[in-house]
C-alpha cells in the first residue's frame, strides 16, 4: 500500500514544494536543480508518458482485432499505420548517414519520416481542423439563437467582430449601420409600446435625422467613428471583451493556484485515482 499510495503523494508534495519555492530561493545549487534537472526529468517522463499512451492505444487496437469486435478491420488499418510510422521512425531512414544520422532523420528533408509527415500526417490533421469551418457554419445557422438579452449581446458582438475584422468590413459605410440602428430601434419601440404610430414616428424621425446629417457632411464612409464597423470592432475587442476575459482569467488563475496548492499539500489525490 505504501508503495502505491504514500510514496506517490510524497513525491508530489516534495517535487511541488521544491518547484514552487524554488522561485524564491537564491542559492545556486537549488536553483540549478529546479531550473535544469527537475525540468529535464519532467520532459523525459512526459516523453515516456506519450510512448505509454501510444502503446496503450495499440494494445487496445490489437485486442479489438483479436476479439473480432465490431469494425475490427479498421483497427488493422490503425495498426498498419502505427507499424508504418514506427518503421519510418526507427528502422528505415530512406537516406544515408551523410544526409541525416539517426535522430536528425525526424526533421530532415528526404527521409521516409518526413515524407510520412508531409503526405499523411499533415493533410489529415489539417483537414480534421478545417472540418470545423463547416461545423461552425452550421452551428451559426442552427444553434446560434437570440434566446434572451445575453444571447443577443453575444450574437451582436460576434457579428461585429466577424465583419469588422476582415477587409469587407471597412467597405461598410457607417451611415448604413446608422440606418440599421434606427430600424432596430423601431423594432424595439414596437415591441415595447405596441403602437404602430409611435413606431412609425420614431423610425421616420430617425431616418430623417440620419439622412439630413449625411447630406450635410457628404456621407464620409468612416464617420462618425462610433458607427464604423472596423472602429467598433476594435473597441469591443480591446475594452469590453478584455474586461470580461480578464474576469474569467483571474478566476481561472485562482482556481489553478488553489488546485496546485491542494496537490502539493496532499489534499487532492486524484492522480492516483482517488
Amino acid at each position: 500500500m505504501i508503495w502505491k499510495r504514500q510514496i506517490p503523494i510524497l513525491i508530489v508534495a516534495v517535487v511541488g514544494a521544491i518547484t514552487l519555492f524554488g522561485w524564491f530561493v537564491d542559492q545556486p545549487g537549488i536553483q540549478a536543480f529546479v531550473d535544469d534537472d527537475a525540468t529535464q526529468w519532467y520532459d523525459i517522463l512526459a516523453s515516456f508518458a506519450i510512448i505509454l499512451g501510444a502503446l496503450n492505444l495499440m494494445k487496445l487496437q490489437i485486442q479489438k482485432v483479436a476479439r473480432k469486435k465490431k469494425g475490427w478491420p479498421y483497427s488493422l488499418v490503425a495498426i498498419g499505420g502505427f507499424i508504418f510510422a514506427i518503421t519510418a521512425g526507427f528502422f528505415i531512414k530512406g537516406v544515408d548517414d551523410s544526409v541525416a544520422v539517426w535522430g536528425a532523420h525526424v526533421t530532415t528533408e528526404g527521409t521516409v519520416f518526413k515524407w510520412m509527415f508531409d503526405y499523411m500526417f499533415t493533410p489529415m490533421s489539417a483537414t480534421m481542423f478545417s472540418l470545423l469551418a463547416f461545423f461552425v457554419a452550421s452551428a451559426s445557422y442552427r444553434a446560434f439563437r437570440i434566446r434572451n438579452f445575453e444571447a443577443t449581446l453575444l450574437l451582436v458582438a460576434g457579428i461585429i467582430i466577424m465583419v469588422g475584422r476582415v477587409p469587407i468590413g471597412s467597405m461598410v459605410s457607417s451611415w448604413f449601420i446608422m440606418y440599421i440602428v434606427v430600424l432596430s430601434l423601431g423594432i424595439g419601440v414596437n415591441s415595447w409600446k405596441k403602437d404602430k404610430m409611435i413606431t412609425f414616428g420614431v423610425v421616420g424621425v430617425g431616418v430623417a435625422i440620419v439622412t439630413i446629417a449625411g447630406m450635410m457632411t457628404g456621407w464620409p464612409i468612416d464617420q462618425p467613428e462610433i458607427f464604423y464597423l472596423p472602429t467598433i470592432q476594435e473597441w469591443i475587442y480591446f475594452y469590453p471583451n478584455v474586461a470580461g476575459a480578464r474576469a474569467i482569467m483571474i478566476g481561472i488563475g485562482l482556481g489553478i493556484f488553489a488546485t496546485s496548492i491542494r496537490y502539493i499539500l496532499g489534499i487532492e489525490k486524484s492522480y492516483i485515482g482517488e
Binding site: 480534421m128 444553434a143 453575444l154 483571474i250
Partner: protein, 287 residues
C-alpha cells in the same frame, strides 16, 4: 478564531519568517517578496476554509442551474432507453478541469446506476481512463449495483485530439445517446462534439474552463457551466468538505482581489496626482 491550531501554526511560521527576514534573509530572492506573500496569504486563506469545512462548518453555495439539468438529462435518457455519453475532455489528469470532470463523472455514474441507464465514457489519456474507471466503479458500488458496472464503460480511444473527436463522433452517430455531457478541458474538438450532439437531438450539458471553447458550448448546448461555475459544480456535487471549503476560500480571495483592484486604482490616482503613498504599479511588477 475558531481554529486555534491553525492560527498558532500561522503565528509561529510568521514569527519564524520575521526573524529570518531581520537576520538578513540569506538565500532569499527578495525581489519576489510580493509574490511570496501573495502565495502565503492566498494559500493560508484556502487552507483555513478547507479546514473549516472539514470540521463540519456549513458553507452556503448558491445553486447552479446547469447542475439540475444533469439529473433531468439522465432521467430523459432512461425514459428513452438510450445511453448517456460522458466526455471528460481531452487532456491528462494534470489539468484541473479533467479532475473536475472526473468528479462530476462520479456523480453522473451514481445517477446512471440508480436509473439503470447505460453509460459510455470514451477517454483520450490512459491515466484518465484509470481514474475515470475507479470513479465509476466506486459509484456503482455505493449505489449497490456492482453488477451493472463493467470496465468497458470507460474506454480509451486515442491520445490524438482529432482522432479522438472523430472516434467520439462515431460513437454518437452509432449509439445515438440521449444525453451528451462534456465536462473537462477542451480545445478545437468542442464544436465537432457539440454540433454532432445537436444533430442527433441529444440534451447537451457542457462544463469547461477553456475560454476559447465556452462560446461554442454556450451556443450549441442546452446548459453550460462557465469556467469557475464548473469547478464550483464539482465541489457542489462531490459534497467533499475540502472542495466546498476551496470554493469558499476562492470566493474570499476574489473579494480580496476586488478590494486590491479598487485600492490600487485609488493609490495610483493619489500617487500620480499628489505623489502620496507609494507606486502600486512598481509593487505589482514581480520579475
Amino acid at each position: 478564531m475558531k481554529d486555534k491550531q491553525f492560527w498558532m501554526v500561522i503565528g509561529g511560521l510568521s514569527l519564524a519568517f520575521l526573524i529570518y527576514w531581520f537576520l538578513g534573509h540569506p538565500m532569499f530572492n527578495a525581489n519576489r517578496i510580493v509574490m511570496f506573500l501573495a502565495i502565503i496569504v492566498i494559500g493560508a486563506t484556502l487552507l483555513y476554509n478547507i479546514r473549516m469545512a472539514e470540521r463540519g462548518e456549513e458553507f452556503y453555495l448558491r445553486p447552479i442551474p446547469g447542475l439540475k439539468a444533469v439529473e433531468e438529462a439522465v432521467g430523459r435518457s432512461t425514459e428513452m432507453g438510450k445511453p448517456v455519453l460522458y466526455v471528460p475532455g481531452i487532456m491528462d489528469m494534470d489539468q484541473v478541469e479533467t479532475v473536475a470532470g472526473v468528479i462530476v463523472l462520479g456523480h453522473v455514474s451514481k445517477m446512471t446506476a440508480r436509473y439503470e441507464t447505460s453509460l459510455n465514457v470514451p477517454v483520450s489519456r490512459s491515466i484518465v481512463m484509470k481514474a475515470a474507471r475507479e470513479a465509476c466503479r466506486e459509484s456503482y458500488m455505493l449505489e449497490g449495483r456492482p453488477d451493472m458496472f463493467h470496465e468497458d464503460m470507460v474506454h480509451y480511444l486515442t491520445d490524438d485530439q482529432f482522432a479522438y473527436a472523430a472516434g467520439v463522433n462515431g460513437i454518437m452517430v452509432r449509439e445515438k445517446p440521449a444525453a451528451c455531457l462534456y465536462m473537462g478541458k477542451f480545445y478545437a474538438e468542442s464544436l465537432i462534439l457539440a454540433e454532432t450532439g445537436n444533430s442527433i437531438g441529444a440534451i447537451q450539458i457542457a462544463g469547461t474552463a477553456s475560454q476559447a471553447q465556452i462560446p461554442f458550448f454556450v451556443t450549441a448546448c442546452d446548459y453550460t457551466l462557465i469556467g469557475e461555475e464548473f469547478f464550483a459544480a464539482s465541489a457542489y456535487l462531490s459534497q467533499k468538505p475540502e472542495l466546498i471549503g476551496g470554493v469558499r476560500g476562492q470566493d474570499m480571495v476574489k473579494a480580496g482581489v476586488i478590494t486590491v483592484i479598487v485600492l490600487a486604482t485609488l493609490f495610483r490616482f493619489l500617487y500620480e496626482t499628489w505623489g502620496i503613498g507609494f507606486d502600486v504599479v512598481k509593487l505589482l511588477t514581480v520579475q
